[in-house]
């Protein structure tokens, strides 16, 4: 990035926000349309008719919606957590990608949160899950893992948004100074009168660091709590002590993979290859490799300890998950994508191959989705009383909603790119170094 001038950075980033080709519009409208058609409309129908339109049944009360919820929460760990860890460890290659990563966090938490309402029987009463004083003297159940979720996710969402916003203030100011028309007042408001004084930089840096430190345990706790939705039950296959770390690792794993996928698309679409270089992919893929190994390790431990315990309930769940119809093929697909394919990243050449990156990262995302799906769909159908066992097959409507959520997410991201500086201008500039001193080289 040595041959880039400050001006170029500014212009490139503003260009991503102001210059919109027709293809982009088509993509955006397509995403929005599909999100409504595949998610909005079926969801409306489901609210009107009842949860009976899903494939849920008596032992399997949680299905694909819960899997989606966990999946999107997992994706959310990409950004904020990654960004914060890399910030604290002062990793230089973070700078050009962290902004989009944080946005991904926010959008995926949003999608995940909506899935909670999608899976509720009476979503119009959702506000009963919030603790507030009422004349009816009703309270919420603080011992419920679902309540933990409500708090954890709302806290996480709020902090993520603040984290994203704080880091963006100088850039918003930069944008403010370069746009005209209706954008001008908007960014004027948003940049909070940022002028770039030393004091402002000082406080920004302080608060940003504070949030970075604050958000790491928060992110870990959020996914632990999500795992407790399952792990605190007694259902064989869900009641696992290892679930919290398993979910956190899985979350980072899938989140990183999501970033890789999105970065490939983003740099291609917005022509910002000079900011997101192969070096970035190299590092991200290394992270993926590490996470894959960790994930595989925990998976092996889980299966081993389940097998070793040799209780009827545990055995049956494992057998059902790994060897019996209708879900066993998914299990082995997951092993392939999550444990075996990432091993390709041992080789530097493959780490820097965009094609391999795309294939493997999409594979990991599919695999991680399957993991969440299997946790729900192969544990609940095999609970304690064999008489009540019943397989779960998602209905078309549920699948449609699932697919729709991806379009919804894509739509949010496409909008984000247009309204927010999606690459951190000031930090990229830090990377470039001082322009007045020609010949300055970073080490």
């Amino acid at each position: 990035m040595d041959n880039i001038s400050y001006k170029e950075v500014n212009e490139d980033v503003v260009r991503t926000m102001t210059k919109t080709g027709w293809k982009y519009w088509v993509a955006l409208i397509l995403c929005a349309g599909l999100a409504v058609a595949l998610w909005g409309v079926p969801w409306g129908y489901q609210i009107y008719v009842g949860q009976g339109v899903t494939g849920l049944n008596t032992p399997t009360f949680w299905g694909i919606y819960l899997a989606n919820f966990v999946f999107w929460i997992g994706i959310s760990h990409s950004g904020t957590l990654l960004s914060a860890i890399l910030f604290i460890t002062a990793t230089p290659w973070r700078r050009s990608i962290y902004r989009s990563a944080e946005a991904i966090t926010f959008f995926s938490v949003l999608t995940a949160a909506i899935f909670i309402f999608v899976h509720m029987g009476r979503p119009w009463n959702f506000y009963w899950t919030m603790p507030y004083f009422t004349t009816r003297q009703l309270w919420v159940n603080f011992t419920s893992p679902i309540m933990f979720d409500v708090f954890a996710i709302s806290t996480y969402m709020t902090s993520s948004v603040i984290f994203l916003y704080f880091g963006s203030i100088p850039d918003l100011a930069a944008v403010r100074d370069r746009v005209t028309g209706w954008r001008k007042p908007v960014y004027t408001y948003l940049s909070l009168g940022w002028r770039g004084t030393d004091a402002e930089w000082h406080w920004l840096s302080k608060s940003y660091t504070f949030f970075a430190v604050f958000i790491i345990p928060l992110a870990v706790s959020v996914h632990s709590i999500v795992s407790w939705d399952f792990a605190l039950s007694m259902v064989p296959g869900l009641n696992k002590t290892i679930f919290a770390p398993y979910f956190v690792v899985g979350a980072i794993f899938s989140g990183t993979a999501a970033i890789v996928t999105l970065m490939v698309c983003f740099r291609k679409a917005m022509k910002v290859e000079k900011y997101i270089t192969l070096m970035h992919f190299d590092k991200l893929c290394m992270l993926l490799l590490v996470m894959s190994l960790l994930w595989s390790y925990i998976n092996v431990v889980e299966v081993f300890s389940g097998w070793f315990a040799n209780t009827s309930a545990e055995n049956e769940t494992l057998r059902y998950r790994m060897f019996l119809a209708p879900h066993s093929y998914m299990f082995w697909l997951m092993i392939l994508t999550n444990s075996i394919l990432p091993l390709l990243f041992i080789f530097r050449r493959l780490r820097t191959s965009i094609f391999v990156c795309v294939v493997v990262s999409i594979g990991i995302n599919v695999g991680m989705w399957i993991e969440r799906y299997l946790i729900v769909a192969t544990s609940l159908p095999r609970k304690f009383l064999p008489n009540m066992w019943h397989d779960y097959i998602p209905s078309l409507l549920e699948i449609s909603v699932t697919v729709g959520s991806f379009f919804f997410f894509a739509m949010l991201f496409l909008i984000f790119v247009k309204v927010w500086p999606s690459i951190s201008i000031y930090e990229v500039k830090e990377d470039i170094g001082f322009p007045m001193r020609k010949g300055f080289k970073r080490h």
Binding site: T134, T135, R136, Q137, P185
Partner: protein
């Protein structure tokens, strides 16, 4: 620009207050529907001091207090004030062997179990929930009949298990 914001704020306030108004109407404004017969509780319970449970005879014994049957009306009005047009309406129903289709003023949703019996036996006055009916020409709902209102009273009288969900909900 500034104007736009003002307009937006005005619109938001309008919409919000619209909702608030609706809630007030729904929750707190009682209603006094028009009944098929202009029955006056003021005359019966107020001026003539007929006890409530003379007509609403099930209140002490059952979940519902019961509307008086037409026979009960005619029991008195065979003799009393037979020339009044309203009484003639009642007589008309009686002659046609038709019950009088009264309109419900106090209505509870199905998932609420409200036994009049227990409340009467605990010594509650009818007026505590129904208001000063003996002064009303047209009966009007004065209480919101909402859960918070129920609980206020249950708290006030320290009802045993009075805050248990299943004391009132089935």
């Amino acid at each position: 620009m500034k104007n736009l914001i003002i307009y937006i704020i005005t619109a938001v306030i309008f919409v919000v207050t619209l909702g608030v108004g609706y809630l007030i109407a729904d929750q707190y404004l009682g209603r006094a529907p028009e009944q098929p017969i202009n029955f006056s509780h003021r005359i019966h319970a107020g001026d003539n001091e007929i006890p409530c449970m003379y007509c609403h005879s099930y209140a002490e014994r059952a979940r519902v207090s019961g509307v008086p049957n037409v026979q009960r009306c005619m029991g008195c009005h065979k003799i009393i004030k037979t020339d009044s047009p309203e009484i003639q309406k009642v007589a008309g129903y009686w002659d046609r062997k038709e019950p009088i289709p009264w309109i419900k003023v106090h209505n509870l949703p199905d998932h609420v179990v409200f036994p009049h019996k227990r409340h009467v036996k605990a010594g509650r006055k009818c007026q505590e929930c129904h208001g000063p009916v003996e002064t009303m020409d047209v009966v009007k709902r004065i209480a919101p009949l909402k859960m918070g209102w129920c609980l206020k009273c249950h708290g006030k009288y320290d009802v045993k298990n009075g805050r248990e969900c299943w004391t009132c909900h089935t």
